[in-house]
């Protein structure tokens, strides 16, 4: 009998402790590409329209995951689905409040770097909710990452 899909995914975690790094770097590259396409169309498209088209672009990937055997299972399936759905709601509403901030008088030079500092909220919330702890190097890394994110978004 094979292990459940989620257990199999957790087993990957044990096989290579740096797999998370590979996928994180891949995310940086993919989101970097997204950032470049956004820059290319920024002057030609309304922010709300961009959000709609952006969501349409995400849709075909659902077909990719839909056939996965890992769509079934999960320890606390309902709870996991709730948090995944909440992630999408927070991301989508975050985009709307971001545009609203710009539309209600916020300067892009302030609002963009400010929203870019959201990982600080993640780190604090992860400390409180997930009891995550960082190594000394990682704490310094975070200290360097925040001004880096700020400068890169100017």
């Amino acid at each position: 009998m094979s292990a459940s899909p989620v257990i199999a995914e957790k087993a990957e975690k044990k096989q290579g402790s740096y797999q998370w790094l590979f996928y994180s770097v891949l995310t940086i590259v993919l989101w970097g590409g997204y950032g470049a396409t956004s820059k290319a169309v920024a002057d030609d498209i309304n922010a709300y329209m961009n959000q709609v088209l952006f969501t349409i672009g995400m849709f075909p990937l659902i077909l990719l995951v839909f056939r996965s055997p890992r769509m079934s299972g999960g320890r606390k399936r309902g709870l996991g689905i709730f948090f995944a759905f909440l992630t999408g709601i927070l991301g989508g509403l975050g985009n709307i409040t971001f545009f609203s901030s710009l539309n209600s008088g916020g300067r892009a030079s302030v609002v963009v770097p400010m929203s870019g500092l959201s990982p600080l909220v993640t780190v604090v919330a992860a400390y409180v909710v997930l009891h995550e702890r960082m190594s000394t190097y990682q704490k310094i890394g975070l200290g360097v990452a925040l001004p880096a994110i700020y400068l890169l978004s100017l």
């Binding site: 995310t27 993919l30 470049a36 309304n46 990937l61 990982p119 993640t122 190594s135 990452a145 880096a148």
Partner: protein, 145 residues
């Protein structure tokens, strides 16, 4: 004490984006990356549908603009998927999220190559700090089983 409306919206954005990193990890603690991504996109579709219904949109766009915007969504979706995967295979939200937020590093490089943008001093400083940050954030101790 008076807060301008734009600041209220900006602070809500900061909070929502920040918390989404933790809810992402909470999801992958319980279900697979694939199922997490499925429900994440369904929520995004709901928001997109809300915009279509509530906000007057100008659909008269050039094909090139539509293609690039949709391609951007596709790349962002793939990135969301790999970020779910990074968390599902054991990455900490407090490390993976700040690391992934260094993506403008790649955006700037692509903009230099394809959009013929010029690099500013703040851009150079940002890139240098981002590279140092990436190396330091990657210094994870092997997990004890």
């Amino acid at each position: 004490m008076h807060f301008p409306l734009w600041l209220v919206f900006a602070l809500i954005t900061l909070l929502f984006f920040g918390l989404s990193g933790v809810t992402q990890k909470l999801a992958t603690n319980e279900i697979s990356m694939e199922l997490s991504y499925f429900w994440f996109v369904l929520a995004m579709l709901l928001i997109g549908l809300g915009i279509v219904i509530l906000v007057p949109l100008d659909w008269h766009l050039r094909a090139k603009v539509v293609t690039l915007a949709v391609a951007g969504g596709f790349l962002n979706g793939l990135g969301a998927m790999t970020s779910f995967k990074a968390l599902a295979v054991g990455g900490k939200a407090s490390i993976v999220v700040p690391l992934c937020y260094l993506y403008p590093l790649v955006t700037i490089s692509l903009a230099l190559a394809f959009l013929h943008e010029r690099l500013t001093r703040t851009g150079v400083a940002g890139i240098a700090l981002a590279l140092v940050a990436a190396v330091l954030l990657a210094q994870e101790r092997p997990q004890a089983d």
